[in-house]
Each structure stands twice: as structure tokens, then as C-alpha cells.
């Protein structure tokens, strides 16, 4: 996988050096081993040469050469790593807030987002904040990773040098939905970024999204509805917002749009309009269990998982 940050070159060079030396030794050791096993096989070589018990010269050689080689490898490891601790003064500060199991990014002017939006070719310093347990912010394409430790002010920085969307994951095990604690880094050009930064957001959509996730978690919805497109017992929440779906009403097919009204009805009277292909009678009504406000939050959450109405 090609790298997309200022560190990629140094890290990849260290990979090439270490893996190169390693493959050389692995192949060498294995080849010699196999050669000896054939050449000095009992059939060809019935009598062992018992006079050989060691060689000071060889021991020195194979102590000194590996020592030099590991120091070389250490050097490349260090050289690729050292700049990661040396943050430029003009780096754009971003606060990454990690919680079980989502990310929020907060920028200098108070703007928040669930994806990390950064400009190309400008250094960005991420201040890592956890509100619960240890997480780890990992962007494979940038070759950066640092633990997000509650109570500690860890940080990382990078300069993205390619446009595009790159995976950002949690790499420190943090419980149930650890493997779903994913988002992306969006690398945009500087003007786009500045414009985006200045767009006001009103109230933060993000808190409502997080609250919506809490609704589906605490009410057990996740047992049947996935958030990642997986078809469990029921429709996944992912990517359904605004789609047209065929539903069955009183035994007859009709097409509806998945909108706020449909979601509200599906929460309170789930069996009235069941999407074709799914069974009716499985989901209970949530009247009295999920409030109107919580339905609003749920809708924000479903919207945040994508769809084509926005």
C-alpha cells in the first residue's frame, strides 16, 4: 500500500532495509540447512566428523556482523521515527476525541466533524483525548499511530501529501464495537479546507448522531439492525436514508421513501409497513420505550450512515 504522508518515505525505507536483510538471512539460513541435510545425510555420510566442536573465529564473525546489521536496522528505524516527535510550530491543531466507539474531531474554531478533514501539504497536529478507555488513532496510509490514553496528552502530527479519502481506525482494543470504530481522513485542497472550516454548523450534528447511536445500542436494535451494511435479521441502517423501498401494506406492495416519517412509524408501529423480503411480526413496537426526541436522534444517526437524499 502506497504511503500518503510526509513520514511514508522514511517508514517505508526502514521496511525495505529490515525486510531486505531479513529475507537475505532467512533464505541463506534455510538454504544452508537444506543443503547440509542432503549433503551430510546418513546414507551419503555415514560417519560424522566428531572433531568439530566449535570455532572461535566463526563465533566472532557471526557475533560482529549481526551486531553491525542490527545497529543499521535500528538506525533506519530511528531515522524514520524521529521526525514524528518533532512537530512544526505552524501545524494546524486538531483535537481528536475518542470514545467507545466513535471519533470526533474538533478544530481550532470549535467546528466539529466525525471525519478528519485536513488540507494537503500542511502539517496537522492531532491532540489525542480519550473520554473513557485507551484507544489508538491509526491511519495506515500515513504510517502514523499513537495511543489515545485517558488522562494523558498524547499527540501525533503529519502532513498529508495526497488528495483522497484514507481509512482511520482504532488500533487499541476498546471493547464490544472496537472493530467498528472507523472513520476516514479526507485530504482536500487548502482553499476548500478553509471554506469548510468557516461554514457554520448551527448546533453540532455530531452530538445528535452519537446520541442516536446510543439509542440503538441501549434499546437492543443492534441485535437485528447492523450499521455496516450487513444483513442481519433486519435491514441495516447503513446507506438507507432517502432510498425508495417496496413495502407490504395489508398484503399489498407499494413503494415508499425512507424518510423521517417512515422511520418514526417503523419505531412505533413496525409491522404496518415491512420492507419486501423481511418478515413481519418480529419487531416489537417501541411506544413508551423510545421517546420522540430519541427518534430524532436515531434519524440523525441513520442519516450519518449515508444514503442518497442529502
Amino acid at each position: 500500500m502506497s504511503g500518503a504522508s510526509n513520514f511514508a518515505e522514511g517508514v517505508d525505507l526502514a521496511f525495505y532495509v529490515i525486510i531486505g536483510i531479513s529475507v537475505f538471512f532467512l533464505v541463506g539460513i534455510t538454504a544452508v540447512m537444506i543443503y547440509f541435510v542432503f549433503k551430510y545425510n546418513k546414507k551419503r555420510h555415514p560417519k560424522a566428523d566428531t572433531s568439530i566442536t566449535g570455532s572461535v573465529k566463526l563465533e566472532i564473525i557471526w557475533t560482529v556482523i549481526p551486531t553491525i546489521l542490527v545497529l543499521v536496522m535500528f538506525y533506519f528505524g530511528w531515522a524514520g521515527f524521529a521526525p514524528m516527535r518533532d512537530v512544526p510550530e505552524d501545524a494546524i491543531p486538531v483535537k481528536a476525541i475518542a470514545r467507545m466507539w466513535s471519533w470526533t474531531f474538533e478544530y481550532e474554531n470549535g467546528k466539529k466533524s466525525d471525519k478528519l478533514i485536513v488540507p494537503k501539504d500542511r502539517p496537522v497536529k492531532i491532540n489525542l483525548v480519550s473520554v473513557d478507555v485507551i484507544h489508538n488513532l491509526y491511519i495506515p496510509a500515513f504510517r502514523v499511530k499513537e495511543d489515545v490514553v485517558p488522562g494523558r496528552n498524547n499527540y501525533m502530527w503529519f502532513t498529508a501529501n495526497q488528495y483522497g479519502s484514507f481509512d482511520l481506525m482504532c488500533a487499541e482494543y476498546c471493547g464490544l464495537r472496537h472493530s467498528y470504530m472507523l472513520t476516514t481522513v479526507e485530504v482536500v485542497n487548502n482553499e476548500e479546507w478553509a471554506e469548510w472550516m468557516l461554514t457554520p454548523e448551527g448546533e453540532s450534528d455530531l452530538d445528535r448522531v452519537a446520541a442516536g447511536f446510543n439509542v440503538i445500542k441501549t434499546n437492543g436494535c443492534v441485535a437485528c439492525h447492523s450499521s455496516d451494511g450487513t444483513k442481519l435479521v433486519a435491514n441495516s441502517f447503513k446507506g438507507i436514508w432517502g432510498l425508495d423501498r417496496k413495502v407490504v401494506v395489508d398484503g399489498k406492495e407499494q413503494t415508499i421513501k425512507i424518510d423521517a416519517a417512515y422511520i418514526r412509524q417503523s419505531v412505533y408501529d413496525p409491522n404496518s409497513q415491512v420492507v419486501l423480503g423481511y418478515n413481519s411480526g418480529i419487531m416489537p413496537s417501541y411506544i413508551g420505550m423510545i421517546s420522540d426526541t430519541e427518534v430524532e436522534q436515531l434519524i440523525e444517526y441513520i442519516k450519518s450512515l449515508g444514503g442518497d437524499a442529502q
Partner: protein
Amino acid sequence: MTAIPHQKLYVDFFHEKRGLASWLVTHDHKRIALLYFYAISGFFVVAFCLGLLMRLELIAPGETIMSAQVYNEVFTLHGVIMIFLFIIPAVPAIFGNFVLPMLIGAPDVAFPRLNLVSWYLYVIGGLLALSTLLYGDRPADTGWTFYAPYSVKTGTNVTVAVLAAFILGFSSILTGLNFIVTIHQMRAPGMTWMKMPLFPWALYATSWIQVLATPVVGITLLMIVAERTLGIGLFDPSIGGDPVLYQHLFWIYSHPAVYIMALPAMGIVSETIPVFVKKSIFGYKVIVYSSLAIAFIGYFVWGHHMYTSGMSGPARIIFSILTFLVAIPSAIKVFNWISTLYKGSIDIKPPLLYALAFIFLFTIGGLTGLVVGALATDIHVHDTYFVVGHFHYVMFGGTGFAFIGAIHFWYPKIWGRMYNLKWANIGFTVLFIGFNLVYFPMLVLGMMGMPRRYYDYLPEFTIPNLVSTVGSWVMAIGLIIVIVNLINGRKGPKASTNPWKSVTLDWTHTQSPPSLYNFEETPVVTRGPYDYRDYEEYIKNES
């Protein structure tokens, strides 16, 4: 040691007394070794099956056979059993117990009753760990590392699991203590330190780690219990603690513990190769010193598990350079083993196959260790599947293969029978191929950036995961062949006393199976442990 009571002569240790009770109160090191063998093998099979279930879940993205919560519990239990109940005790407690006294010409270990106590502690700890499945809300879901503050916050059965690990620690400490005293006090006349075989040397280095490092993890685990029950604020920042402190304390033990797992396995390889090559191990003294060097330097490298924890830059650099230094003695061992083959008379038997496979797989484990030991590359692969692949190459490819090799090596000594050699070779081959199919794709996944402990994954990681899961079935078939062949071997042909024609005391001076106190009379050592000059004559005269 002084004379051995005469009425015990020629009675094999199996049949000295009969019945379950005679086994459960035995002081005999060989019977205790077999008690360990059955308990440890049982736990291994359980954890191996858990591993198969994990691989099956990961065959494709999304849910396959279990929910995320169950998956998290399964990988925790897999790790806890494999680390604390299999790989740490396997070689020392089974083969250390069985052959250490015989290799140094002693009738038993120094403290036979303490030895039995260690086994009971092991069983109690093991059952306690498994009992977490049966009560409380859920089994622990923290991973075997029990990282705070998650382990403090989770509602699962962590307290009991941690106490189980604490008790197992004591089993390990007492075994280590027993071996140190045995090696110091009970070597046969004439066996100077530099005439001692290499497996005892490896156990000696290991035992010091067990005695000195295990208490640290014991204390740390108790601190977790105190944190959970009393809320005293050691590790949980919300009550004033520091989670990174936990990691330091944990790895101060758990990195040296890696050498508790690896060193005895290296000892087995050093013990096996000369027997099937019929010449002295190359560079005996260097191998001895390299074991001691690994045990010593191994104490100072724990920080390499924490490069991304937020440690200061200089601390990361110091831990990295020390990590590279600990690679050197391991490399030296590999070169010496290979050189032992030179101008030998090599007889490819199953134990040697496992030893050679150890060299190959352990070398991959060691070399991938350099990738995670270097700073820049570790930042990329830390906490990814690369690490999972790396430590399985070291632990399973290294210690696991050495362990299975050791069973094949000492099988005729322990049971006095010989297994089917052809099926042993077939089992080995399938296991070896399956192993690489499982773990090599993990190295690739890690380079691609797939984090470990992931229940579900992005679509780009699908193919290596599929290969790895299919490999797990091949590996399982290999293991089944190996186990069935070994079980059938109990009814196999009677083995001669010294079928491999070894010159160490365990083969030359004891019967197969050995008598209760091993030796008819205390042997007097005049030759080096791997002196194969005129060995056929020597073996004939001695036995």
C-alpha cells in the same frame, strides 16, 4: 546423591503403585510431569479449538458464527489459556520435570513435595480461569493483557480471571525455584557446569526469570483486583491513576515471560540436533552464554511493547536499541545449530524435523521481531495482525513445534514404546504447511494495516483472512494426525532403551520407562554431554 534404596530397582515409575490416588499424591518427578502433560495438553486442545472458531468467524467480513461480544470473550480466553496454561508451563513443567533430573544424573528434583504443590496450583488456577465461563455476567473480554482502564471498567468476570493468573504465577515461581536448587545441588559427580547438557542450562536461565519476574505480574494483577473492588486509583485516570503505569508493570514481567516460553524450547533444539547428527553441538559454551545473555537483556526491553503509548521519544529510542541487542544471542544460537549439521551424519527422524522446523519458523519469528523492534516500522504495524503473525511464529512455530518435537523425542523414554514414524512425518508435514498458511497471511494483513482484535474488517482485508482460515483447517488436520499417531503409539512396538543412540544420561543410564529413582546407581560423568566419539562403544559399555 547417595545410594538409592535397593527394593526400588527395576520397577518402572508407571507401575510402582497403581490407581488414581497413587498419581494424585505422587512425589515422583516423572509422574508429576505426566500429570502436567495431561492437564496442559487438555487446555491446549481447548484453546486450539477456540482459535479455530476465531478463524472461522474471520473467514469473511461481518458476522459468521458469533457476535462481537462472544468473539471478544473467545480471543481473551484463547490468549489466557495459551499463554498462562500452555506456553509458559508446557516445556519446563513437562519436559523440565521429566528429563531435567535424568539429564543431570539426579533421582528426582530437589523438592518433590513442592513440585506436587506446583501442579495443584496449576490445576486450581486453570480451573478458576475456565470457571469464569460458568457464572457472573460474562467471561472476561479484555484480551490476555488485561489493559487498564478497560479491565477496570468492563462488567465481565475480570476479577476471577486475574486471580487465576495470579495463582498460576505461583506455580511458575515454585517450579523455577525447584529447578534452580536441583541444578545447583544435584548434578551427578563429575558433571561440572560446563559438562551440563544444554536443556538444563536453558531451564536454569529460564528459572531465574520465573523466580525474579513473575512476582511483578503477581503484584500488578492484585493491583487490578484492588482497583476493581476498592477503587483505589492506581490505573484508572478517572480516579487519579495512570493506565500507562499498568502497561509498564505488566510488560516488566510479560516480556521476560516471552523468554520463559522461548528459552526452554531452544534448549530442546540444542538437545535434539546432536543426537540425530551424531556429533557435538557446535559452540557449546557460546550457546550457554547466549541463553544467559537472553535471560539478562530480556529484562530491559519491555518498553518495545509500548512505542505508541505516549512514552517520551528518548525512552522509545533506548528500548529500541536494547531490543536489537537481544536479537544477537538468538541469531548466534541459530548459526550454531546450523553449523552443527556440517559434516554430521544426519538421520532425519521426526524429532529432528521438528527441530529444523523450529529453526526456520523461529527465524521468521525473530526477523519479524526486528520489524516490530525498529521504531518507524513498529509505528505502522504495532497492534496490527503483523504482531499476531509475528508472535505466533515465535510462540507456536518456535515453542509449539519444539514442544511437539520433544514429545516425539522423549516418547520412547516416557512410555517405552515407539510411535509410527511414517505417520509422524506425514502429520508434521501437514502441520507445517497449515501453520504457514495460517500465519503468513497475518503478516501481510498487518502490513496492509488491519488492526488486531478486530471482530469485523474492511473488504480489502478479505483474501488474506480467507487463506488464513482455510490454513487453520489444514493445521487442525495436521494436529489431529499427530495426536492420533501419538495415542496409537502407546500400543506400538516396544522401544529399546536408547533408540536414538544418544549419549546423554537420560538415555544411556536409565531404562525406558525409567525406574522410580531413575538410576540404578548414581552415574559418574567423565565425558562432555555431546561427545559422540566412538559413541556406539560408549553406549554399549554404559548400558
